[in-house]
């Protein structure tokens, strides 16, 4: 694999659209960006004079803060708009919203939306670069990139690793982005969750699917936990928190089945005692806080590359 020299698209809509060389380029650029965070003055002038709009149609704390920090460290002018719900609730179509923002001539729009595909629809009508910060249950590309960055930092590689992804597979955009990324980078993937939360047809994508956590964890180099929303914890998806933890909670005992130097990841926010035992979340396997720190560097890399990748 050769590292790309630039990104082909001016948008980052998903990992699906990237090739391995482009992923490698983002990860290598992120390594340089991470160095900025170690400086006393954590700011470079790269995006000075550029405007970035953070357009959040769904509430978010972590991702939004991470993007804002990344934008500020690159000296971009940023402004944010959070509006929970669809554009239609304001009597406006999605393209109206886009055109309104477009009229203010931003260079980039970082967008989160509860509907899958909303950024793809916007990208067809917008001149600005669109960065998908999570669309419905579809993709969350910067999360997968920061996960990959974190794995690489710890393991030195992605190819050949056994990665277990566990939890609510059906509703997870983190899963979908990671599936694309890990497959492109040559990792082997096992996904695990309750049968009611496995998207139909997943097995056709060349990943191992299991409903037994022990099988998934056994020999894993990386265990990636997915959040399970509270509202799915009773009713027709799952009978109870108690049973979920019993069947799918990641405990220290289960981690003993993994590779000796296995790491545990979580995109946050965690439900302690639901999908993950605190002894694991805070234990020797956990790289969860490193993920958060790396998120800023990876997002700086994405912003920088989409802006054209001029010299820092």
């Amino acid at each position: 694999m050769t590292t790309a020299t630039a990104l082909k698209s001016r948008h980052l809509l998903g990992i699906e659209e990237l090739d391995a060389g482009e992923i490698e380029l983002i990860l290598e650029t992120a390594l340089a960006m991470k160095e900025v965070a170690g400086r006393a003055v954590k700011k470079v002038p790269t995006l000075r004079g550029r405007t970035v709009v953070n357009l959040f149609f769904e509430s978010s704390t972590r991702t939004r803060m991470s993007f804002e920090l990344a934008e500020k460290r690159l000296s971009a002018d940023t402004l944010g708009m959070t509006t929970v719900g669809s554009s239609v609730s304001k009597g406006e179509t999605l393209s109206d919203t886009a055109r309104t923002i477009e009229a203010m001539a931003p260079d980039m729009i970082v967008m989160r939306h509860a509907s899958s595909g909303a950024p793809h629809q916007l990208a067809r009508v917008c001149k600005a670069s669109i960065i998908n910060a999570g669309d419905g249950t579809h993709e969350h590309p910067t999360q997968a990139l920061l996960d990959a960055f974190t794995i690489k930092e710890r393991k030195g590689r992605l190819a050949g690793l056994r990665v277990a992804i566990v939890g609510d597979l059906l509703h997870s955009r983190v899963l979908r982005s990671n599936l694309h990324l890990l497959r492109k980078m040559g990792a082997s993937i096992v996904v695990c969750g309750p049968a009611t939360l496995i998207p139909p047809g997943l097995e056709t994508l060349g990943v191992e699917v299991t409903t037994h956590l022990d099988d998934a964890v056994t020999g894993a180099d990386v265990v990636m936990m997915l959040r399970v929303q509270h509202e799915r914890m009773h009713g027709l998806f799952l009978p109870s928190v108690r049973e979920y933890f019993k069947l799918f909670g990641l405990t220290p005992e289960r981690m003993l089945l993994a590779a000796d130097d296995a790491i545990v990841m979580h995109p946050g926010p965690m439900n302690r005692g639901v999908e993950i035992d605190s002894a694991v979340a805070d234990g020797r396997w956990s790289v969860i806080l490193e993920q958060v720190a790396n998120g800023v560097a990876v997002r700086m890399a994405v912003l920088y590359l989409l802006a054209g990748g001029e010299e820092t």
């Binding site: 999605l94 595909g117 629809q121 579809h138 955009r173 139909p200 997943l202 994508l205």
Partner: protein, 442 residues
Amino acid sequence: MRSMLLKNVHVVDPVASRNGRFDILIEGGKVTRVGRDLPVGDATVVELPQSCVVTPGLIDIHVHLREPGQEHKETIATGTASAVAGGFTAVACMPNTDPVNDHASVTEFIMKRAAEVGLARVYPIGAVSIGSKGEQLTEIGELHAAGCVAISDDGRPVATALLMRRALEYATMFGIPVIDHCEDPSLKGDGVAHEGPVAAMLGLKGLAGAAESIIVERDISVAEMVGGHVHVAHMSARQSLRAVQTGKERGIKVTSEVTPHHFVLTDEALRWHGGYDTNTKMNPPLREEVDRVAMLEGIRDGSIDVIATDHAPHHADEKALEFDRAPFGIVGLETAVPLCLDRLVQAGVIGLARFVELLSVNPARVLGLPGGTIAEGSPADLTVLSPDTDVTVHAASLVSKSKNTPFDGWTLKGAVAATIISGRPVFVNKELQEVVRAFAVK
């Protein structure tokens, strides 16, 4: 009205066992003779290009004309103009208007408007239940007397097995079918795309084929119990086809229709043009290749009776929403014939005679309508096809008020040359100069 002699034209009329060159004499809006070397008399002679094919008027038994109540999407005037531009001499319109066609007064309004417009014939379909709410039967007798040719709660399934039972029992008194939009509401949930790998990876909520076939099977079981004629609207899933096939084998009166988009497209279209084009969102959803192939098989082997469009116009503003919030449906009247000629006839799936069965003979039979054959003494409702002409679909140029089609930019082999209703050419394809000249008033 002047009489007209279509001279030595290629007639495809399977009911009359005609597939060859004949003369058709039209007098007073009716076909008076079909034969060879008919005397011209005082009729105007119409000579069509050799490649043209004259068929009994095509009939689309599943359209949404949106009037009354949703005139921003379509009206009876624009919808029937779209129909004749698409080669259809008659359409049956679904009752999910506002108000719902659950009362004879609504039926009468639709019939009156259609007569004023004077383009395609319009056959209203009445609601099964008041407001299509699934609770109380409509006055089916009154609806039938006012002109309804079938009943349906289309847009929604007939809500319960009991309602289906009563509707079938009651409709038998009038000899009309119950048309069902087959879909189990609990399995459908808030699904927006066919449940399968494509929806899974696009992060779209799934709508499984079984949500359709479970209700198809229910309806067939109910029809087996009480008799009556159940017609499966817009069938899309391979499991449904199997259910219809076995139902027919058991001698149950079940018929079915399929839309062109369900035998032409699959859910892969949801990825096209950057993905999430809301003109690929319809209900039932575009399914996967095995389902598409099954629909072709049903078209070929006769287990599918009818091709209908499910013409579902929506305003561009409504379709400009997020994929999961945009309304279901696409327009179909003006793309159906080119899609069928290209993908079925040109592709060798079926011949022209079967094409006429699917788009004229059987639609008339299923709803008990006049037409379906070019019979002496009947109104001269004819469709003239030009199977060798390439057509490029331009969404913006559609006659329909709405432009929501996934086929924008497609070039297909097979055009409508003219549409004749009661001997009157209500549509002539301007691209075909010879045809324009043939029908020009002399």
